[in-house]
């Protein structure tokens, strides 16, 4: 088992023919993901070929056409910022159920509108934007993470679920888990933007309900109060071992945006507050980014 995506997930790439979309779709195909098509307006009817995988995919003008022709249920979005929120809404409108938005730099108000567009569509789940994507090791990779650092669960083996706001820091975490022999069920980069589709709490719930996941690693950052809310959720609803890390303990508090940023969060959102909240919830907090894997081991040992 795993969450969100698995071997049977049929995927398209929006922005397939752009350089990043093309490169990463090729990489995902090499990893074994089941990409079935791509979308680039004006290029519908052409065929895309992966440089390294050699695989060919049909290109469509719209997601709607692509879904009809391929039966895709997931999409990886590499559309540039100016059109990315529109691409997310297009995917949702066409019935895509897992939308993974890699694009960085989407205007915040565009995302505010896109997120409200998704609200009446509870069966659609957005991951990101500004995220590395989602991977179920050995089964399905939708994103830009290096696949080879991940360790799939063997038959009947349990694994760690990873939730992260950061990109390369997630790779660091997965690398450490793999080095310690801990396989991963699914790793989800939820994105570092102020507005993201799927939050920590939703993923904690999915991992809690996934029988294959035996522990959860959650990597947070300063800003917002998502980690504080997640900590409350963990103490109430998660019985599995949880480890965490908060990046930005030394980030300068002076880089704030006037009064309003501080007022809206009621002065919370600092690394110190977040770590205190996590520890209150019984979560094992890694002291440095070199201790991400060992924190998971400690959390598992504590729950035994």
């Amino acid at each position: 088992m795993s969450i969100l995506v698995d071997k049977s997930t049929r995927i398209i790439c929006q922005g397939l023919t752009g350089s990043a979309g093309s490169f990463h779709t090729d990489q995902c195909l090499l990893y074994g993901s089941q990409f079935v098509g791509g979308v680039t307006p004006k290029k519908g009817g052409t065929t895309w070929k992966g440089e390294k995988s050699g695989k060919e995919l049909p290109v469509f003008n719209t997601v709607s056409e692509a879904v009809k022709a391929t039966g895709a249920s997931a999409s990886m979005i590499f559309v540039p910022p100016v059109g990315a929120a529109d691409a997310i809404m297009e995917a949702a409108d066409a019935g895509i159920q897992v939308i993974v938005a890699i694009t960085e730099g989407i205007p915040v108000l565009d995302m505010a509108k896109a997120k409200r567009f998704l609200k009446p569509k509870p069966r659609t789940r957005l991951i990101g934007p500004n995220c590395p994507g989602v991977i179920t090791p050995g089964a399905c990779k939708i994103g830009i993470m290096p696949g080879h650092i991940h360790k799939p669960c063997g038959p009947g083996e349990k694994g760690v679920g990873v939730i992260s706001r950061s990109g390369t820091l997630t790779y660091e975490a997965v690398f450490q888990l793999t080095a310690l022999g801990l396989p991963q069920t699914t790793c989800v980069g939820i994105g570092g933007d102020p507005i993201i589709g799927t939050t920590q709490i939703e993923l904690l719930e999915m991992f809690q309900n996934d029988p294959q996941t035996s522990a959860i690693l959650m990597i947070g950052e300063i800003g917002g109060t998502a980690e504080e809310q997640a900590a409350v959720f963990v103490s109430k609803s998660v019985t599995k071992p949880v480890a965490a890390f908060i990046a930005g303990q030394t980030a300068p508090p002076g880089r704030r945006m006037g009064h309003a940023g501080a007022i809206i969060s009621g002065g919370s959102g600092s690394a110190k507050d977040k770590i205190a909240a996590l520890e209150r919830a019984g979560i094992e907090v890694a002291p440095t980014p070199a201790d991400l894997g060992s924190a998971v081991q400690k959390a598992m040992a504590r729950k035994k």
Binding site: S166, F175, A262
Partner: protein
């Protein structure tokens, strides 16, 4: 991207807000002329246009009298003298650091002495994914203290991004703040203008503080601050044109032009990392191992997920232009990009820029073995370059070498 008070007020005025008259001046003579136009038998306020806050409580460095960045002047001569002082001395406020900031532009503003001050602000509320308008009857300098001690005195209204603040929401806020009669209607108009600029121009922060009832009974925007979403500037050429690079850190401006995300800090260890989260975490681990020795990070630098040779070279140049830097930690996790490519870029950067301080390199990920060979082959040419196989070792090493 921040803008000056006068720019913020002009945007609000165009959206229908009532703003005191002002004239932008760059010389003492212009200030004197502006006095004649705006004093109307009374006085004017001369206000330094700098991005840093706390101007009123600040002090002109090296100036004999007590004078900050805001001064009420009752004569033409006084206005000219105050302008002269401001334009020739750096202004220190609680937001500038001890060196202060140069003042290049002033406004001369018609008098609008406040009888009562309110706070209005608009910012994204991440927890609900939409902007909120915040308002308080306790405006002025101490608004953050009010927020911390009496959060119930800050009213918050979620605003739909598709429509902006609705008229009834503005009306309700105005009456809840205690406005009455025509003053309530004027306050509503200012709230709707604030929301309009925020939404039409993709602001990330908008503040009117204070929103004031003047002694003559008018309702005006007495000071305003806007920060705009950098990611949306591509569709707002008018806003992008308001950028004042004089107000920004030169190293950060330079980094921005090279698509590097750089923030200057106080420590002595430069950091060059790929990815924002890993960059913050790298700062954290330097601090973790260094703080006992008084050693901390000199900067935040994210060179992006896929490092290029050009980006790395410019990153080193920016880091090394800071004389405080005594050592550098390079921490790169090769994801899709090959570590070998990164190692080559590092060597090239070292040769072009010259590494005069210890540079500790920790690479991990794709093709890391090949990268290690490249670095060891270059060690003769780059004597200060050291490698470490894990992050803890790397952090301890750079602290040790530069303490």
């Amino acid at each position: 991207m921040k803008v000056h008070e006068y720019q913020a007020k002009e945007l609000l005025a165009a959206a229908g807000a009532n703003v005191p008259k002002h004239i932008v001046v760059k010389t003492p003579d212009e200030a004197a002329a502006a006095f004649d136009q705006l004093s109307n038998g009374g006085g004017v306020v001369v206000k330094a246009q700098v991005h840093a806050g706390g101007r009123g409580q600040g002090q002109l460095i090296g100036f004999s009298d007590k004078l900050g960045g805001v001064k009420f002047c009752t004569s033409k001569e006084k206005a000219k003298a105050v302008a002269e002082a401001m334009l020739t001395h750096h202004l220190k406020t609680k937001q500038t650091g001890p060196e202060g900031t140069k003042i290049q532009t002033l406004i001369v503003q018609a008098d609008a002495e406040p009888a009562k001050e309110f706070y209005l602000g608009m910012v994204l509320d991440r927890s609900i994914g939409v902007p909120v308008m915040m308002a308080s009857a306790e405006g002025g300098m101490d608004i953050e203290e009010v927020a911390a001690k009496h959060p119930e005195k800050i009213l918050k209204v979620p605003v739909a991004p598709e429509t902006g603040l609705l008229p009834f929401q503005a009306r309700r806020l105005a009456y809840e703040l205690g406005f009455v009669g025509d003053q309530a209607a004027k306050a509503e108009k200012i709230m709707l203008a604030l929301s309009k600029v925020y939404r039409d121009k993709d602001a990330s922060l908008a503040e009117i503080n204070p929103l004031a009832i003047t002694k003559s009974g008018d309702v005006v925007v007495l000071d305003a601050k806007f920060d705009f979403d950098d990611n949306a500037l591509f569709r707002h050429k008018d806003i992008a044109a308001l950028r004042d690079e004089n107000e920004e850190n030169p190293a950060e401006v330079r980094a921005g032009k090279a698509n590097l995300n750089f923030i200057q800090l106080d420590g002595t260890i430069g950091c060059l990392v790929n990815g924002a989260g890993l960059a913050m975490a790298t700062m954290d681990i330097i601090n973790y191992h260094g703080k006992a020795h008084g050693v901390g990070p000199a900067n935040f630098l994210d060179v992006g997920g896929s490092v290029t040779a050009e980006g790395a070279i410019e990153g080193f140049r920016i880091i090394l232009s800071d004389p405080k830097v005594k050592g550098i930690l390079v921490n790169v996790f090769g994801g899709i990009a090959s570590c070998a490519t990164i190692a080559e870029a590092l060597v090239k950067a070292g040769k072009e820029v010259g590494f005069k301080v210890p540079v500790v390199v920790r690479l991990e990920g794709n093709e890391v073995e090949k990268a290690r060979v490249i670095l060891s082959q270059a060690s003769a040419d780059l004597p200060t370059l050291k490698t470490a196989n894990d992050l803890t070792t790397a952090a301890k090493m750079v602290v040790e070498l530069s303490k």
